[in-house]
């Protein structure tokens, strides 16, 4: 049996944590883009967009992320696409993030007083101009703290990708446990690493929210 010191456990978990970070960023950025597109479709009042997006959000918020991962994994395989765990996890987490982010941002846009839209209308601004110059900048300010807060959710969500065989922090923890037979130490280290990733983000979100409240 290979002897693992505490340092070895930490070092290997640290290497695996890079994949957690990578997957989180991919899902967050991808989810942000898709979420933004959905938000714009809603704001532009495309026929059916209101209902469609609401259903989409309900679907992703009302089902377990684990099931979404399984469906992406087996669904893509069914379509004949040769999927690695990377693709399936990236796709599922992107869609999951997009549903939450679009809902968060819709709330932020709704928080902008109606008079702002009307004032922009009375200046004969186009839809794009209204968003870019009037509503967007104000909504963006409100949106930053909850969006940063949601990043924590995404980081924690990537832990589930371990179940479909994506080797990130949690999966590495399981593998190291199988080699060392020290589950207590290893999972405590894994938890500590997630905490080290998530806590600064949570703290930043809280701080942003406080400073926003002060500014008002």
């Amino acid at each position: 049996m290979v002897d693992f010191s505490l340092w070895d456990i930490f070092r290997n978990l640290g290497l695996a944590a890079r994949w957690t970070v990578g997957l989180s960023l991919l899902a967050f950025v991808g989810g942000g883009l898709v979420g933004l597109a959905l938000l714009l479709a809603r704001l532009a009042q495309w026929p059916g967009a209101q209902r469609g997006v609401a259903g989409y959000v309900q679907l992703f918020q009302g089902t377990p992320l684990l099931m979404q991962l399984f469906l992406a994994y087996f669904g893509l395989a069914l379509l004949g696409i040769n999927v690695s765990a990377w693709v399936a996890a990236g796709l599922a987490l992107t869609l999951y993030s997009s549903a939450f982010l679009t809902e968060i941002w819709r709330g932020c846009v709704n928080a902008i007083p109606k008079g702002q839209w009307e004032a922009a209308d009375s200046l004969a601004l186009s839809f794009g101009e209204k968003l870019r110059h009037v509503v967007g900048p104000q909504a963006l300010r409100i949106a930053v703290p909850p969006t940063v807060g949601f990043l924590v959710q995404v980081i924690k969500g990537t832990a589930l990708a371990s179940v479909i065989g994506f080797i990130e922090l949690t999966k590495a923890g399981t593998m190291i446990t199988n080699a060392t037979f020290r589950p207590f130490t290893v999972y405590a280290c894994v938890a500590l690493m997630y905490f080290a990733l998530c806590w600064p983000v949570s703290a930043a979100s809280r701080k942003l929210e406080r400073s926003f409240r002060r500014d008002r």
Binding site: G62, L66, Y194
Partner: protein
């Protein structure tokens, strides 16, 4: 050409039904105990002694910043090396309670902190004990104010319990996994299970919204909210 065969999955409905019932049972126990823990921690954070309040905030921060699956694995795989052996079901409930407790603590505290000062002062002037002030005057309207958030959190924990199948607690996702290992209809099995989860989340949300005013915090006069 893709051929889906839902019938092969649906004929296994007894397993799905058992799984769904198990998920509901797990969630019900976790919701009851988790809310209790949340209220206790919420009290400790807003009214408790300083050392207790800081202990509770450490617990809340630790749980909120680590994934549920790691908490579950730590409890199920990690604790036995301290001599604490747990069945998958007990480990699942403990993990769900600990998880819900941390989130509920934050939510309940927000409700408690929004209590108008005058209500507490009025209650004290009637010579109620501190315990009575909390349980009769502060807590019910506080729970009423934050009930929608608590309901959402309970639904989130129920959906999160899908992970408990990974330690072979026999809930809904475990049933789906069992079915697909029998008939190799993985996609269909998980579609059906996902649909059942969706139905469960709508059902639980509806049930809790109905039960809250009746059994948890009572009907509040409009001024109490």
């Amino acid at each position: 050409m893709i051929q889906l065969d839902f019938l092969a999955v649906l004929t296994e409905w007894p397993a799905l039904l058992r799984g769904a019932a198990f998920t509901l049972g797990l969630s019900a126990v976790a919701a009851l105990l988790g809310l209790g823990l949340g209220v206790a921690c919420g009290w400790a954070r807003s009214n408790g002694p300083r050392w207790l309040a800081s202990g509770v905030s450490a617990y809340v921060e630790l749980i909120r910043n680590t994934p549920f699956i790691v908490q579950l694995f730590f409890i199920f795989f990690g604790l036995p090396s301290l001599g604490i052996k747990l069945t998958p079901e007990v480990a699942s409930v403990i993990a769900m309670v600990v998880n819900l407790g941390a989130y509920a603590a934050e939510i309940v505290r927000a409700g408690i902190d929004n209590t108008p000062r005058g209500q507490v002062e009025a209650a004290r002037s009637l010579a109620l004990s501190e315990l009575q002030v909390f349980t009769r005057v502060v807590l019910p309207p506080a729970l009423g104010r934050v009930w929608p958030a608590l309901v959402s959190q309970i639904v989130i924990v129920m959906l999160g319990s899908a992970v408990c199948g990974q330690i072979s607690a026999q809930e809904l996702s475990y049933a789906a996994n069992l079915i697909q290992s029998r008939n190799f209809r993985a996609f269909e099995a998980y579609i059906v299970a996902t649909a059942v989860y969706l139905a469960l989340s709508v059902l639980v949300r509806w049930l809790l919204n109905w039960a809250g005013p009746r059994f948890v915090f009572g009907r509040l006069p409009a001024a109490g909210r």
